[in-house]
């Protein structure tokens, strides 16, 4: 059926309908849907704080749950190990992420798509499976070969194997964190290289640079913000790592205990207060790192 059209001077009058209400509804829907998630995050943190406050009401400062937990030497060790292992794995992640991100973003090579897919595995694999796979891998040669076979190590080192040096030891913590954080860093760096203009590097070549010079003088400075994001993300991922750690590094106090392990151990013995306190310490640490990175990033941009 033809719509009813009114005519004026022989032309159809096609007045756009009133859009004000619809526009307002759209904006409201946008804020409700998006805002509900922000609300959830804020409430999660607020809940933790509220719980601790309710527990310490009327108590003296010395019995404040966070101070109590900080007095435990296990917790102090786990804070130290977390800071150390996260920094180590973030550095390792960047060492692979910068070249890999560059190769994926800028170079065209056979098998690139396959490698790209493989790099997603640590992101989509269940964390426990990563830990288990690491554990299994270290049961094979060369990880079980005595080091003395390669190098004349003196004394007890002669019979030492990579397996015994790594599994259930501090290196396992770093390796497990790196295994996952590396993938996130690579993704971030690839995106960073994708976003910068490849023409700049080509100009540098034409201006007389070798590929190495063009990379270090032009391309790398162009992605410095992306590097900051990648290292922050890798660090934060490493801090949150738990499943692979539990399997591959164990949860031995004063040895392979990091903050996420502490939360688990305290919770498993019913010490909810300590678990929540350590959780909040982790929240603060992660937020500090992100704030620092953001702050630097902005200053770098000259704002």
């Amino acid at each position: 059926m033809a719509p009813d059209l009114s005519f004026r001077d022989g032309c159809p009058v096609l007045q756009a309908r009133h859009t004000g209400v619809s526009d307002r509804f759209f904006m409201v829907a946008l804020s409700i849907l998006g805002g509900s998630y922000v609300l959830l995050i804020v409430m999660l943190l607020a809940g933790d704080v509220a719980y601790l406050v309710s527990q310490s009401l009327g108590e003296t400062l010395s019995r404040n749950p966070i101070l109590t937990v900080l007095r435990k030497s296990e917790v102090r060790y786990s804070i130290f190990l977390s800071l150390f292992s996260c920094s180590m794995s973030a550095v390792l992640a960047m060492l692979v992420a910068v070249p890999m991100g560059y190769a994926l973003s800028r170079l065209r090579w056979v098998g690139r798509r396959w490698i790209d897919a493989i790099l997603d595995i640590p992101i989509i694999l269940p964390p426990l499976v990563i830990g288990l796979s690491l554990l299994i891998l270290f049961q094979f040669k060369p990880f079980t070969t005595p080091l003395g076979q390669w190098w004349p190590f003196p004394g007890s080192w002669h019979d030492m194997t990579l397996n015994r040096l790594v599994v259930y030891q501090v290196p396992a913590v770093i390796l497990a964190q790196f295994a996952v954080a590396g993938a996130f860093a690579v993704r971030t760096m690839k995106a960073a290289f994708d976003q910068t203009n490849p023409r700049c590097e080509q100009v540098a070549l034409a201006l007389g640079c070798s590929r190495r010079q063009a990379f270090f003088k032009v391309t790398l400075p162009e992605v410095r913000k992306g590097m900051l994001t990648a290292v922050t993300l890798a660090w934060a991922r490493a801090l949150g790592e738990f499943g692979p750690l539990l399997i591959f590094a164990g949860a031995t106090r004063h040895k392979t205990e990091v903050l996420s392990t502490t939360v688990f151990l305290e919770l498993s013995i019913g010490n909810l207060e300590a678990a929540v306190s350590v959780s909040l310490i982790m929240v603060v640490a992660a937020m500090l790192v992100i704030l620092l990175a953001r702050n630097w990033g902005v200053r770098e941009a000259g704002l």
Binding site: V203, A204, A206, L207, S210, K217, V218
Partner: protein
């Protein structure tokens, strides 16, 4: 000065086959052609960014550069989008090629001052590219390309993003650069006005072939 013979490039379905042309010394050559005709590909091949097929021969200033990496070709290159380095000051841009060539600091300083004076960008030397106007950006890009005294300058649609007034100003800059340096230019454009204003000789790229007009 720019001698190209039997240049062939294939990228996917796109192909340039047996392109030959010559820009005489000191001339201002204007390369024209429709969008997608392969003008930028041709420029990139001259710079050394695209692999050419066997039998292709590119001779710049009497030297066969066909197999040389871009760095050794000594061609001044002004790309389509300028591609200024976002982390470098204008001074850094002008000094870049000289730094890479390990020129003495005193010479670099003198050359930067000379370029800045010639292109009238002295007041911009300590600025970052962000916030420069279109005309200012193009002057910096031009200065960067000229800094190491190349004998050949390749310009890939250098004026297409500029407004009318700025473009007229740039004509003057380009004429003056050419006069003072004697550089041989190949300038890619699809604008007849630009060709009218600047060209000594015009080349038209069509269906993978070049015609001299």
């Amino acid at each position: 000065m720019i001698d190209v013979s039997s240049l062939s490039i294939a990228i996917g379905k796109f192909e340039l086959r047996d392109v030959s042309f010559n820009v005489p010394e000191g001339a201002y050559g204007m390369l024209m052609g429709q969008t997608g005709s392969g003008k930028t590909t041709l420029i990139e091949a001259l710079i050394g960014l695209k692999k050419t097929r066997a039998h292709s021969r590119i001779v710049i200033a009497g030297r066969d550069v066909t197999r040389l990496p871009p760095a050794e070709r000594n061609i001044g290159y002004v790309p389509q989008d300028g591609a200024l380095f976002s982390t470098m000051t204008v001074r850094g841009h002008l000094a870049f090629a000289l730094d890479v060539r390990r020129a003495p600091a005193a010479y670099i300083e003198q050359r930067v001052a000379e370029l800045a004076n010639q292109l009238r960008i002295e007041h911009l030397l300590e600025r970052m590219p962000e916030g420069l106007s279109g005309g200012e950006r193009q002057r910096v890009v031009l200065g960067r390309a000229l800094s190491f005294h190349p004998r050949v300058l390749l310009l890939d649609e250098p004026l297409s993003a500029l407004d009318e007034d700025t473009r007229n100003g740039m004509y003057e800059v380009l004429r003056q650069v050419r006069k003072s340096t004697g550089v041989t230019v190949l300038h890619v454009t699809h604008s007849f006005a630009e060709a009218e204003a600047l060209a000594d000789c015009r080349y038209v790229l069509k269906d993978g072939k070049i015609e001299l007009q």
